[in-house]
Symmetry: C2
Subunit: 543 residues, 2 copies
Amino acid sequence: MKGLMMDYALTVPSILRRAAQVYPEKEIVSRMSDGSKVRITYREMYERVIRLMNALREMGVKPGDRVATCAWNSYRHTELYFAVPSIGAILHTVNFRLFSEQVEYIVNHAEDKVMFLDSSLAPMIATLQPALPCIQHYVVMDDKSEPPTVTPTPFSDYEALLAGASSIESFPDIDENLACGLCYTSGTTGQPKGVLYSHRSNYLHAMGECMTDSFGISERDTVLPVVPMFHANAWGLPYSCAMVGAKQVLPGSHLLGSPIANLMESERVTFSAGVPTVWRVLYQHLKQHKHDLSSLRLIVSGGSAAPLSLIEAYKNDFGITLTSVWGMTETSPVGTLCRPRAWMDAWTEEQRSVVLPKQGIPVPGIEVDIRGENNEVLAWDGQQAGEVVVRGPWVVSDYFKNERTEATLTPDGWFRTGDIARMDEYGYMEITDRTKDIIKSRGEWISSVDMENLIVQIPKLQEACVVGRTDVTRGEAPVVFAVLKEEEAEEGVKEEILALLATKFAGWQIPKRADIHFIDAIPKTSVGKLNKKALRATLEEGS
Amino acid sequence: MKGLMMDYALTVPSILRRAAQVYPEKEIVSRMSDGSKVRITYREMYERVIRLMNALREMGVKPGDRVATCAWNSYRHTELYFAVPSIGAILHTVNFRLFSEQVEYIVNHAEDKVMFLDSSLAPMIATLQPALPCIQHYVVMDDKSEPPTVTPTPFSDYEALLAGASSIESFPDIDENLACGLCYTSGTTGQPKGVLYSHRSNYLHAMGECMTDSFGISERDTVLPVVPMFHANAWGLPYSCAMVGAKQVLPGSHLLGSPIANLMESERVTFSAGVPTVWRVLYQHLKQHKHDLSSLRLIVSGGSAAPLSLIEAYKNDFGITLTSVWGMTETSPVGTLCRPRAWMDAWTEEQRSVVLPKQGIPVPGIEVDIRGENNEVLAWDGQQAGEVVVRGPWVVSDYFKNERTEATLTPDGWFRTGDIARMDEYGYMEITDRTKDIIKSRGEWISSVDMENLIVQIPKLQEACVVGRTDVTRGEAPVVFAVLKEEEAEEGVKEEILALLATKFAGWQIPKRADIHFIDAIPKTSVGKLNKKALRATLEEGS
């Protein structure tokens, strides 16, 4: 028997209307390239979105069409996050930091019809323009950078477009299962794949982020997303902030150190989100410059694991809580979040140090399982490691144009993340590796992440990365790439690494002395992760 | 174009499985009638629910069947909240405090197949049994009250039933739009009507309650629902608590004063929910007895408006935040909640006193409009009053057996609440009356609630109620029923009422001296609201 509740669609335009009606006075603050700030209220944003919706229709954008953005975090990007889905079209946030061949690939693969771009990115896009025949209109957003030397031609100016557009409100009926946004994975293996979010998935993900045990975004928050709006759905923050009327502070293209600290201080930021690199650089800045960041209640760090040392340094030196979040483009992205249980407050610092660096428990809405090599369900005992599989209303089931492979889902329909983890008895997940990065030695697994986490505890080291190389007798053997801190010397460090590893790893797991290399920097992917593929490639070249 | 996210159903059994898997150690504590406490963990609850699901199947309960409960707040009632929907059947929580004819009506109207009842309610149900031919099985739950003198015959014992049931887990696939729960309205006009919740509506409502700006229920909370589990879906708390692993404290049948204060203190309760009467009685108790309630972070008060004096008394005398929530059985029930905006912190106490007694802003998911007599949308200007209409994923569209009338929904599909309210420019709703209670005098409206709120500020008065009587010249005229506090005398009080009303109401709105009556108590409905229908009836008898 059916329930008799309203058939109410969970859609992005309903979030937009709520923001304008219930929180008309709350602000979105944008830092422009020249350091100036632009402030608009949710009510003003709404009126501009109405014009933008009409401008898109004027340009011939139809429901289901893809509209590309190449832009940093700004109020205009937020407007696009709302306007494009509100006419039933699909917002494709292009990660322009990928290789230009990949940008070319994804714009053509998405068949984007219109592209909105920051003026600072105009030269880059102008170069690509001949390879992007699908784009019928370019719209340039003046981000107050130096005037671009070249631009795609012809192009419209964003503000002129809005000024000329109708202000008549017209919202089409939208089914909650319709596509709303499109993000491509960073494609460390093969071509990037498109993840097609629905209105429903974005709405539910936003509700999830406002739950107290997740990000807990509320009207009282001032949120600074350092995570770029062109990556992984901006972690859903444009939608969750608008849903509860949180003030937003958008940093433009200045994402490291001083500009972030200044914005946090001047706008009294309470919540921020970004990758560990951002927090490492900010920490170094804060050690050297005085800032009042007492307004901050929570920083969430995701994309890769935040080391315990960084979590503790923020807490001990600045009283700031930094928490790990785990997810991926395919999970909208929030999947798990690490908050100690209430009863863990009574624990010693040592006991808590076991939990804090974990990726945390599944957020409500997300179910997590760990599976063995034959898809068997493994116990949550803190011991067994298996592949993390997830399901939930904001998890992908298929890639754009149905590019699913057999490896995308388990036979029982869970998404295979490619991460290896243990789950403890209280549901805290600890990622130990990527399936493709794990080192298989003598038929056993060596976790490259466990090894890295141990090695970076050596004070002289800045970073470390462990990958496997082919080994005749063992199958694979671990290789360490280490980056020394400025002004530190190599002397004795190899011995220190080997001695430290011997405290936690079995003899056969420990790398040979010759397999420890010092390099100037670990190569990173376009989204700031350790690029193990590139490091493995250097080993193959050398062999 | 459809989004490519998982088709993941939002269901009650997924909340149950989450509670057992992620929060196995968290507790549900029940106070029994003899004052003892029973503690079970979510893991134990899960195992008992599995047995209960199998026992229900053994009794022949099929998907879509209705299963009645007549029970106070206890862990067994929580088990029923999960087990019945998890086999696809419908949990019908019977409000046994209605008149017995109404209980008889709703059980037969619902065609309940099985009834679970507390042993303390057995005599009452035994009397009704001949009139309830649809019930095929009675199951008695021993709540440690005096052994019942009579019981329905035959009956099973709840614990014996569980002990004899299979422990094999078997969850059917459930569509999120399937019916999950059934609650009847209290039926102040006409027969009670059934509201049929779906799995989706209960799931989304639970997510909503865990949002920081709503109830903000989290793992760190210990929640004491004073609101009965047989009324208005228990305000959704059994589901929201389980979703985030909050500890639950269930008070059984002892809902006033000392037992509540003792439970709050001994279990370190952080959050509680109930009607204003509960909080008024608890306040009186706390004034006379010392309790450490420092663990409480929030009390929400709904069902009728909490007066500012009570909100301020809790804050000033005990440092406890008491907040108004508005909703009804038809809205699952949470619709609006009053939290001052961050920037209102800078306000004076006087300014805040304007906002605090309001019903607050719509919670995310709920849209509110106020409409004029011809369904026209009225502005949110704090001035215009109109009927509150709502829509959202946990709002009713139809009553059970499709007993919708033309007045249920507006022509554009919003639910008509029957409440009259103003909305201010920041979205704060202030209920001024019920459509059926408003007094229409000389073609204008007089708000009975505004008048009551003013009158109860007189220190000698305990309560007041204002209704309309037919008046030859004015159409309707207001009549005041006032209840003096113990040991206070009538002398001079009528004059005080008239003088006070003259400060805020026009001369033609003010009642005649002869229309002010002192009575011993205001009659209440089964859920504790002022029974204006009964008072109007006494006027008609007298005329």
